[in-house]
């Protein structure tokens, strides 16, 4: 029976893989008060001798949009990948929608989705075929109607039956967003959602994300280099540098603390090691 359960699910090894991170005497991280969609505690990811993520902790409230900000190699993508269970932490704990990750990830994967520049949709398949497959993987009810609705919402109708490989970058991003929304996720993880998009399309995507959050009370965690995007979308910003959290607050308070008018200026301060107001 044990072998059978191992074949059904790869979680058995994930438990072992993060065994050192378990703290059996601590209370469960599960979302008991209903407020935290994501809880990260003392999370570390070590690649050989490099600390990709270095002992970070945060809680993300349900229905919020949080931005993970940081330069290249800051640890944003690794953090998101650990939240998704695609990368195993060296130590620390992650809980998503009340489920321990990676041990219980299959309990909540159907309520999550993601978009990342590190993955693509199959190029030879049409948009409709791709959405059909992912809809079935997520067990979406009334899939045809759902695809039609997404096609209307995200303006995909004119190329719904075109191969994904024949789409422009902006169209591909909209399709990737449609895939990320196909199951109406409670938690959306986005890695650079508007990378390589023209300002108009990027603005359009941001608007859609904002509307989705409001209408579905969804939680969105996005990693971005785009300061304006984060400033406009996010209730809260977590600034990372070399795997550590440098700051964590609302965009307004962070800008006030650094005595700056834009997050971009704050980002440059952090990147170049200039200290914020009131610190020594």
């Amino acid at each position: 029976m044990r072998l059978l359960s191992q074949w059904l699910n790869d979680d058995h090894m994930q438990q072992r893989g993060t065994g050192q991170a378990q703290a059996p005497n601590q209370p469960p991280v599960a979302d008991q008060d209903g407020s935290a969609a994501i809880e990260v505690v003392d999370l570390v990811k070590l690649y050989k001798t490099t600390h990709a993520v270095d002992d970070i902790s945060f809680r993300i409230a349900r229905g919020s949009i949080t931005g993970l900000l940081g330069g290249n190699g800051a640890g944003k993508t690794t953090t998101i990948a650990m939240i998704m269970g695609l990368v195993l932490p060296t130590s620390g704990r992650v809980s998503v929608l009340g489920a321990k990750i990676p041990e219980q990830r299959y309990d909540v994967l159907g309520r999550m989705n993601f978009e990342s520049p590190y993955v693509d949709m199959p190029m030879r398949l049409t948009v409709r075929q791709n959405l059909t497959i992912f809809g079935r993987l997520y067990a979406v009810k009334q899939l045809r109607e759902r695809i039609d609705q997404l096609a209307t919402d995200l303006d995909l109708k004119e190329f719904l039956d075109r191969s994904n490989g024949k789409l422009s970058a902006g169209q591909k991003t909209r399709v990737a967003l449609a895939k990320a929304l196909i199951n109406e996720p409670d938690l959306l993880l986005l890695d650079e959602p508007t990378a390589s998009l023209d300002p108009d399309t990027a603005d359009w995507v941001r608007q859609h994300l904002e509307t989705y959050r409001k209408t579905h009370n969804a939680t969105i965690l996005l990693a971005s280099h785009n300061m304006l995007e984060v400033e406009r979308l996010c209730d809260r910003v977590i600034i990372m540098k070399r795997g550590k959290i440098q700051d964590d607050d609302s965009p307004e308070r962070i800008m006030a603390r650094y005595n700056r008018d834009t997050l971009e200026e704050v980002f440059l301060d952090v990147a170049r090691g200039r200290l914020r107001e009131g610190t020594s």
Partner: protein, 274 residues
């Protein structure tokens, strides 16, 4: 909480397996070169070996008696080789398409993924091998299906071996990226000399025979020769092959899961390039 999707997490989902088979089916149907390739190589193989068999059967009394042994061996070898390729190429399609992250982040479980690859391997095999058997009948008068019920035992044993090798090779690519892709194309050829496809096991040195008998295909090819030359079906050989296949199958799954975990530790699932 969203009500649009059901969130049953337990057990194997036929819907998810079906979704993956549909994904590969769409891909196959969208690309005529992919379809043509499935038929092209087996057809070329059977025609070349068939004429060779014709030639040597004229020159040798043994081969004249053992009519069809070579052609039968070529078809069975193709079931073994193309069965593994059919499995592994579908897996590689995900790597080439950079779609693995999407799948791993979806509710699709590893076992469901592997089962869908097995189903696709059968579909791809049928597309390639059925025309091959028809060519053997048309050009060389060799009716592969006249083998009868033993063919089921041969086929099952070969396909199980091909899946075991496919699961293992896919795990290696998953862990090491597309840099390990050549393993998929070449691994089965390591089995070829030891599985005694075209010659009996006694031809090998004594110590190598021991190694050969650890491979399920060796039992199948010996069984085929026994049937075509001596007209005797050897169920004992098939039972041994099945038993070894069961061990290989379980081991390949365990190794795949271990390599998947290693890929997650290594962070290579999101960067599945070279």
């Amino acid at each position: 909480m969203s009500e649009i999707a059901s969130h049953h997490a337990h057990g194997i989902s036929l819907q998810r397996i079906n979704a993956m088979v549909l994904r590969y089916w769409y891909l196959l149907m969208s690309s005529w070169p992919r379809l043509l390739e499935l038929i092209y190589w087996p057809a070329l193989q059977i025609i070349t070996w068939g004429f060779l068999q014709n030639y040597i059967s004229q020159a040798s009394g043994f081969f004249a008696r053992a009519g069809g042994t070579l052609i039968g061996a070529v078809i069975l070898w193709d079931i073994l080789f193309r069965g593994q390729l059919g499995f592994s190429i579908s897996f590689l399609e995900e790597m080439w398409a950079r779609n693995l992250g999407n799948l791993m982040m979806s509710p699709l479980k590893p076992i469901e993924f592997l089962l869908s690859l097995m189903i696709m391997s059968l579909i791809r095999l049928a597309i390639g091998v059925i025309p091959m058997t028809l060519l053997a009948l048309f050009f060389f008068g060799f009716n592969f299906y006249a083998i009868g019920l033993p063919l089921i035992a041969f086929f099952c044993n070969l396909i199980f071996t091909s899946w075991s090798v496919g699961v293992f090779a896919s795990g290696l690519v998953l862990r090491n990226g597309l840099g390990a892709e050549s393993i998929v194309w070449t691994l089965m050829f390591a089995v070829m000399p030891l599985a005694c496809i075209y010659y009996p096991v006694e031809v090998l040195p004594a110590w190598l025979q021991i190694v050969a008998w650890t491979l399920p295909p060796t039992y199948v090819f010996e069984g085929m020769r026994s049937l075509l030359i001596d007209h005797v079906f050897r169920p004992d050989l098939m039972a041994w092959a099945l038993a070894i296949n069961a061990i290989l199958f379980a081991a390949s799954f365990a190794i795949f899961l271990a390599l998947l975990q290693s890929a997650k530790r290594n962070g290579s699932l999101l960067n599945s390039g070279e």
